[in-house]
């Protein structure tokens, strides 16, 4: 990178410059482990044995959804000579949440960041907000930065609303005098009124969110990095948030906006970047990015296979080999009739015998609401340890149960006690439920918008007494 113009002195029109940013996470291992475990592992390495099972469990706590392992080309840093047996385990436990992401944002531009869950949006934002450090690459932010990953960060329940406005404002980078100047506006905007001197622990959750957003709305940065904050609160609150963001955008601030809300993206951002599996795959007009994103998720995800066992999701105990959405006759189906049953299927190899395993599916609708979680309770294997071999587990969703729309399925396998997750393939499957409106589905002859997470065929009875 030497020889290029020095980015620190880059031209004044540029606001954000990202150069080959990559972030690698280590799965399972690390985190909160005890000294004993750590010592035990060092000892095990000396003896040349692999990492034990509990180190390979997928860490779920982080908000980033991590998907891929990079199998080749990554030097395993803590590997010394003569430790080849450890190598695979170490490499499989490392995944790249984002990889080689580069783009620039001009001053005053409003850019959306879209992608599926686990595509690396949150990771990118965490790197740019300096919450965590990248594994490779660099980035430059020219100007005063404020980030908003959560509403009301740092609120302390014992402090009054007033104190929390100051604390939250300072956490977000405002000075006391700035907050002084905006205090009245903040209180007015939040609508908490005379509760401002009441401890926040007495607030309703709605009041807390409103107060938090009021503070955030009065940030005055040159660059604003925002994550999904609009996902909280009710519809009218979200509308207000969007309105406020539009105001901010129109005052010439640079905004990077991560969202699942495609309508918000197209409305607010002229330009969007699309992340897929940690890589930037599109950068351009937001309507194009959105249609690419929607196209990308709709196609070809009713049947997925992992032919190479080394790259299949899982660990040394079990690996996912295939996942499908099928109709009752067993044919893969991306679109299913709302009246017909849907079968979710996973095929997985058990590599180590003797463990109790529980396959499970998590179904999400288009609003990212979890419709249900279901786990295998087939008496044949329920609470029984399984031998080595290939298993196929199916869950049948009855017809006339799901609502219309797009659904995504996380495909997971875990051991219940102690809980170890062997794999979670988030948005592993995507399918569409279609109502052809022939009059015999739950909607009957009604053709308008029909809300609801599910649309079950309930039994109705109507009694009649002749008129008086």
């Amino acid at each position: 990178m030497n020889g290029e113009p020095d980015p620190v002195m880059s031209n004044a029109a540029e606001s954000i410059r990202v150069e080959g940013i990559g972030k690698q996470y280590r799965l399972g291992e690390i985190g909160m482990r005890t000294l004993r475990e750590s010592l035990a592992e060092s000892f095990r390495r000396l003896l040349g044995r692999g990492t034990p099972l509990h180190h390979a469990k997928v860490r779920q706590s982080a908000s980033d959804r991590l998907r891929r392992t990079r199998a080749e080309g990554e030097p395993a840093r803590e590997r010394g000579p003569g430790e080849d047996s450890v190598r695979t385990a170490v490499q499989q436990n490392r995944i790249w949440a984002i990889e080689d992401v580069s783009f620039t944002v001009r001053r005053g531009e409003v850019v959306g960041v879209i992608g599926r869950n686990g595509a690396g949006k949150s990771t990118l934002l965490k790197v740019l907000t300096r919450i965590t450090t990248p594994t490779e690459g660099r980035a430059f932010l020219y100007g005063r930065v404020a980030s908003l990953l959560e509403v009301g960060t740092g609120f302390h329940p014992e402090l009054t609303g007033r104190d929390n406005v100051y604390l939250n404002g300072a956490v977000l980078g405002m000075t006391r005098s700035e907050i002084d100047a905006k205090f009245d506006n903040i209180v007015e905007f939040s609508g908490v009124g005379h509760f401002i001197d009441t401890p926040v622990k007495r607030y309703s959750s709605g009041m807390k969110v409103r107060l938090g957003f009021a503070v955030a709305a009065h940030l005055d940065p040159e660059i604003l990095l925002i994550d999904e904050v609009l996902a909280v609160g009710d519809a009218s609150f979200q509308k207000r948030c969007l309105g406020k963001m539009k105001d901010i955008a129109s005052t010439g601030r640079t905004i990077l906006f991560v969202s699942h809300n495609m309508r918000a993206i197209t409305r607010l951002c002229p330009r969007a970047i699309l992340l897929e599996e940690g890589r930037l795959t599109f950068d351009g007009p937001s309507h194009e990015a959105v249609s690419r994103y929607l196209g990308g998720v709709l196609l070809g995800t009713a049947d997925r296979q992992w032919p190479d066992p080394a790259r299949a999701p899982g660990n040394e105990l079990a690996r996912l080999r295939r996942a499908r959405v099928t109709s009752e006759d067993g044919a893969a189906a991306e679109a299913v009739d709302i009246r017909k049953p849907v079968i979710l299927e996973m095929v997985y190899d058990v590599l180590r015998p003797g463990y109790v395993l529980q396959p499970n599916f998590h179904l999400y609708n288009d609003d990212n609401v979890c419709v249900f979680v279901t786990a295998d309770r087939d008496p044949a294997w329920w609470r029984k340890s399984r031998p080595r071999g290939r298993f196929t587990s199916r869950a049948r969703i009855p017809g006339n149960f799901l609502a219309e729309g797009r659904f995504s399925v996380s495909v997971a396998l875990s051991t219940p006690d102690p809980v170890v997750i062997h794999f979670v393939e988030r948005e592993g499957l995507v399918f569409q439920v279609i109502d052809s409106q022939e009059g015999d589905s739950v909607r009957g002859d009604y053709t308008g918008q029909m809300p609801g997470v599910v649309r079950p065929d309930l039994q109705w009875t109507t009694e009649f007494e002749p008129g008086t």
């Binding site: 932010l141 020219y142 005063r144 740092g154 300072a170 956490v171 700035e178």
Partner: protein
Amino acid sequence: MTGSGPADDVIVIRADPPWFHIPWRELYRYRDLLFLLVRRNFVATYKQTVLGPFWYVLRPLLTSVINTVIFGYVAGLSTDGTPKFIFYLCGQLGWRYFASCVAATQQTYLGNAGLFAKVYFPRLIVPLSALVTNLVALLIQAATFFGFWWYFREFHPEGSVLRIRVELLPLLPLMVVQTGMAGLGVGLWMSSLTVKYRDFLHVSQWLLSVWMYATPVIYPLSMVPLKWRWLSYLNPMTGVVELHRYVLLGRGTVVPEYQMLSVVTAALFLFSGLLVFNRTGRTFVDTV
């Protein structure tokens, strides 16, 4: 745009940040946060307690009473000829700031995990706010100490030995700085180690009590054999506690060369603590 002024410097994000870096400018910019955190610490600690900040006064007093009974009367340890209670109270004055800084700083990462995962600000602000919070407590304790000092001087039969070396009083703020350096350094170490190994949550209490016995808090340095005094001074708190007695009670052992040695060890603790803390901070969010 009140207070924001011209555009700040460029923020550079890189995979290999400098191994030692104190963001002075940023710390200054976030100074208001520091004092708001201090305020939060006070309010949060004493909400729903009956005695509130009086605990700052009570705790060293109660400890000194116990020390007087156990170590003064039962064990019969020397107090360099000063009244026992005031001897132990003086020891608490020097020691307690260190202990409370270590204990508070240790919480930095684990106690603020939720905050650190959602927003960036110089992480050092949090331990610094703990230092300031405890400094306020120290001032309250110092005022109490002088009250008792006056009482013992006037009314205690052995009180006449008490003498404040006024010409050395300016040394005490320096001792507070040295204590802060050592306390921050050790606390940063503990905070970082606790992130990786929760075991250190349990270690810290034990460490602090062993450390206290290694420091002349409940005994005078004059009880340490001459040839081992240099070793005792490797502990940065030895010089601090003993100098407090020398200045405030008029009795004690002070060896200027050794005193300098303890400054060096305090600085080493701080420097290495900052190193480890910075390193942990880079990826802390990924590991919790």
